[in-house]
Symmetry: none
Subunit: 219 residues, 2 copies
DNA sequence: GCCAGACAGTCAGGTGGCGTTCAGGAAGTG
DNA sequence: CACTTCCTGAACGCCACCTGACTGTCTGGC
């Protein structure tokens, strides 16, 4: 299992790295929210994430939401020093799947992570008859399957994560490119065309609709 | 099941020998690290190993790593007088699979050993028409057989363990090199080429596909 | 001690895939 | 009709990867 850990405290980071490796898992480490967004993308292959709520550059719950809108929907376990109920609930509200307070029992944390991971890697979106398979970098429909390049995959993931909703160009760019990247407006169109072509090539029943002046929507 | 035991204390050695034989297993005994290296090699047929961390001539964790790099990848259970968490973790980091503190409950130890043995090492798959033979470090297909070096074998095993899935470069590195090893990015490519060449040389029907920017996939 | 062979790892050069851009046309909007 | 936005096809260039050869280390045999 590949586990993404976002935690600023070096001691805890190292502890988790060793313990998880020991338990037979691979880890990807991030020490702040920005790095997490870069490393934990939809095509990162990550099965479960551990995110500290109190990060130096942002709130872990915001990080989680940003990842969600980038199409990443692996389960998230929040780490926090706070034990109050409303904080716990806020964590769940932000798309979290579990919650552990610091200081935590290592064994318990790992057990919970494995439980979350065992639920299986959810196909990113079976919505609208379109499956995204991060393990294979592929998009699948009842009628066939195509392989996508990393960027294509991230873009498509960002759109399919919100079926029937209009996803703004800006959002697509934020999901598919690292923060601060400068891309010509047109680049999105080019990729969109390639994705559409690939989907057509397998006779996909779903298509990407463009909402002029706003963005795109899956249908 | 054949169980290798490396332990300097004669009393514990005798205790384990009797108990394991009683439980229906065969044992191979070593008094120190040097002997363990000679007796527990990759071709020793040993299924599981019990290694004391506090050996007269060396640290059990070093012994374990030495055995690993000699191609021995049977599961290891560490025995130690230390109970502190960081020692436990260090044992895991050295390639251990389980850990029992002395004095131990005989029943529990045997149960854990049997669990390790049963789990086996990743049942190196017959997937996709490609057989991996850990004992001989060989890859076999309907059309022939080639011998692989230890590193080649570990890499190929990492890829074949997930047929049709993209295995990331860093996953391959994690599988083929000890933790913290620094290898040039290029090294993976070199080995990959050697593996592909060997597979071709026997006219293998399966081949390793590369997914640019992500990793490799068996096909 | 010396040599031969096997294996791990590195380096430099070439290639192609993928990300990116551009220009021209089509479609939507006022 | 003027203007904007998006589609379409083609082309470019970088970088990840491939490829072949080389170096260094270790082991076993004479």
């Amino acid at each position: 299992m590949i586990i993404g850990v976002c935690e600023d405290d070096p001691a805890i980071r190292r502890l988790l790295a060793e313990a998880l490796r020991f338990a037979g898992h691979e880890t990807v480490m991030a020490h702040d929210g920005g790095e997490a967004l870069r490393l934990f993308g939809a095509d990162s292959g990550i099965d479960v994430m551990v995110v500290d709520i109190g990060l130096p550059d942002s709130d872990g719950r915001d990080v989680c939401q940003a990842l969600r809108s980038a199409g990443q929907n692996a389960p998230v376990l929040f780490l926090t020093a706070l034990g109050a109920t409303h904080d716990r609930l806020a964590g769940f509200g932000a798309g979290g799947d579990d919650y552990v307070a610091k200081p935590f029992e290592l064994k318990e944390l790992i057990a919970r992570l494995e439980a979350l991971g065992r639920r299986g890697r959810p196909p990113l979106s079976t919505t609208a008859g379109l499956d995204l398979d991060p393990a294979r970098h592929a998009a699948r429909t009842p009628s066939g399957e195509v392989l996508l390049t990393p960027t294509e995959f991230r873009m498509l993931a960002a759109i399919t994560s919100r079926p029937d909703e209009v996803v703004r160009r800006r959002t697509v760019i934020a999901a598919a490119w690292p923060e601060g990247a400068v891309v010509a407006e047109n680049t999105v169109d080019s990729f969109m065309r390639r994705i559409r072509t690939k989907l057509e090539s397998i006779g996909s029943p779903v298509s990407i609709e463009t909402v002029r002046g706003v963005g795109f929507r899956i249908r």
